[in-house]
Amino acid sequence: MNELDGMRRWLGDLRGTVERKAEGLTPEQLAARSVPPSDLSVLGLVRHLAQMEHHWFVRTLSRADEPQLYVPDGDWDAQFRDAVPEEAVVEEAFATWRAQCARSDAVLDGLPPEALDFVWDPDDRIGSVRDALTQVLYEYSRHAGHLDLLREAIDGTTGE
């Protein structure tokens, strides 16, 4: 398996982890800040991951001029603060996240393996395609760690 296919497999596995960590929870459980004093919730993280996918794949790799998701007027706290226990908010968040995953996959479909070496800014902290994709995998993994403890605190469920 080449490097790009390997990254895509890891990405698919991590998205699957997010689905499993959220599975079977009510809106109240999804929005619960179950590990106080942290303000993280499963629902807040799904919104954050939608923003993260959109930022790297659409805004950065595709150079699309679109505003950040869930960051109204530069208010970064909104992604977590406004993750409230309402069915409509839950449905919107998961629909948005899944739609962004599909957009990301379309970007990846158009990426030849050699594009990983492309550097758009040698001075940027993350300035190459490989670096950006590694950052996406890292973000998902770290937030999967948050999801592990949030879910276990909600109903005792553990596992991959």
Binding site: E3, G6, P122, D124, Y138, R142, G145, D148
Partner: protein, 181 residues
């Protein structure tokens, strides 16, 4: 960034804009090893051993022991087929790394010494891997019939650190409220 407790010029982590696949993996791995260590800064043995997010049995000290074991398992037992048993593991208790944590300075010193030793050994091995060898497959230690490419092994390590840094984020915040890094 506001959620950092070290000034930028004191942060040991790098943003070296690595070029190429191997250099990228090496930088991510080095930085997230440092991140996990930083999550343990300025805590007592009691705090490090605390299971601060119940009902989870995880603790920061358990995570350090776990990562010493994981580094050893992948970089020594699998990558170099050293033929030795896992560390912080027993037949009777597969979670010995987490379960046998003690709130003592001796337990802390032992864990960090082991972890740093395993990191040094892992870095020494990976430094000698040619870029063209990243797709080479190795038999997985303890699992007959399974192989893992060097690429998958290293990416797995980055993910494993990242996930455990996520655990460490919440464990630490529940101990003394510190977040970030």
């Amino acid at each position: 960034m506001s959620d950092m407790w070290l000034a930028e010029d004191q942060d040991p982590r790098t943003a070296g804009n690595p070029q190429g696949e191997k250099a990228t993996y090496a930088e991510y791995l080095a930085n997230y090893r440092l991140t996990l260590g930083m999550k343990c800064d300025d805590l007592t043995p009691e705090q490090l051993a605390t299971r601060s997010v119940p009902p989870s049995t995880l603790s920061l000290l358990g995570l350090i022991r776990h990562m010493a074991r994981v580094e050893n398992n992948w970089f020594q037992r699998t990558a170099q087929a050293n033929g030795r048993d896992r560390i912080y593991w027993s037949e009777d208790d597969g979670d010995l790394d987490f379960n046998a944590v003690e709130p003592t300075q001796a337990c802390v010193d032992d864990a960090f010494t082991s972890w740093r030793r395993e990191i040094a050994a892992a870095e020494e091995w990976f430094a000698g891997v040619p870029e063209s060898d990243l797709g080479r497959e190795l038999p997985t230690a303890g699992r007959t019939d399974e192989v893992v490419s060097i690429r998958d092994l290293v990416v797995h390590m980055i993910e494993e650190y990242a996930r455990h840094c996520g655990h460490a984020d919440l464990l630490r915040e529940c101990i003394d409220g510190r977040t970030g890094q």
